[in-house]
């Protein structure tokens, strides 16, 4: 899977800026956009390693979308996002 197109990265960036706690951080718009771009690049570079970390049979049975959901839920719970 390729990195997000510019419009999608901009969409993520815009949504984040609508969340109140991002402004409180003192981060400027361009700096937040750079973070979005960097995370997308990191996800791209880390896909294979993440997939390899999944045990069988989940690794082969789950779709990429389902694996992403597992990652999202675990990360969200760890960092108190949900």
């Amino acid at each position: 899977m390729a990195i997000l197109v510019d419009a999608d990265r901009a969409g993520v960036w815009a949504e984040l800026m609508r969340m109140r706690d991002f402004g409180d951080s003192g981060v400027l718009k361009a700096e937040l956009r750079a973070a979005v771009d960097a995370v997308d690049a990191w996800v791209e570079a880390s896909q294979a390693a993440f997939n390899a970390a999944l045990p069988l049979p989940a690794r082969s049975a789950l779709t990429a979308r389902q694996k992403a959901k597992v990652l999202m839920d675990v990360v969200s719970r760890r960092f108190g996002v949900i």
Partner: protein, 168 residues
């Protein structure tokens, strides 16, 4: 000449198109539920304020935006103000078109260091569509979130808008 306030509006007076409009909202009950228009950081959103040019009006006009940031504590904002002044019998079909003059853009204005604190941004309306007494007018206020000098994250909450002329 001392500038005079010729009109002021609350955010609820804002008129918007069906797209790229600021989100209307209210602050908390604890703050008295102040109405505001939330202008996005990433999209150029605009609202219009209608008035009739007073019988005595002198230019240049100045728009003063009283605002607070929803969350940002650093960075700058950029807004612009655009005037439409229609004299009776002008060839403007108000059902089909608008006839805005060229935009007047503010300088980059720093946001308060505390979200919710009020600041004011001034826009000199050099381009005022040759406004004259009695004209049917609209003042379009827009946050230019796409401007690279608009660096503050989060919404700009417009709390009030004032229009001044150049005085008697």
């Amino acid at each position: 000449m001392a500038a005079r306030t010729i009109r002021s509006w609350s955010p609820t007076s804002g008129e918007s198109k069906t797209t790229t409009f600021p989100q209307p909202g209210r602050t908390s009950d604890a703050s008295g539920a102040r109405p505001y228009l939330g202008f996005d950081a990433a999209t150029d959103e605009a609202s219009y304020f209608t008035f009739v040019a007073p019988a005595v009006i002198t230019t240049p006009l100045t728009a003063i935006l009283s605002f607070a940031m929803a969350s940002a504590t650093s960075g700058n904002i950029i807004c612009d103000g655009t005037v439409e002044a229609i004299t009776a019998a002008d060839a403007v079909d108000t059902d089909a078109a608008e006839s805005l003059d060229a935009v007047n853009t503010s300088s980059a204005t720093a946001v308060p260091a505390t979200a919710g604190y009020v600041a004011q941004l001034s826009i000199t309306l050099t381009n005022a569509d040759t406004i004259a007494a009695g004209d049917l007018c609209r003042l379009r206020i827009r946050r230019v979130g796409s401007n690279v000098s608009d660096t503050a994250t989060g919404d700009l909450n417009l709390l009030a808008l004032e229009l001044r002329d150049n005085g008697a």
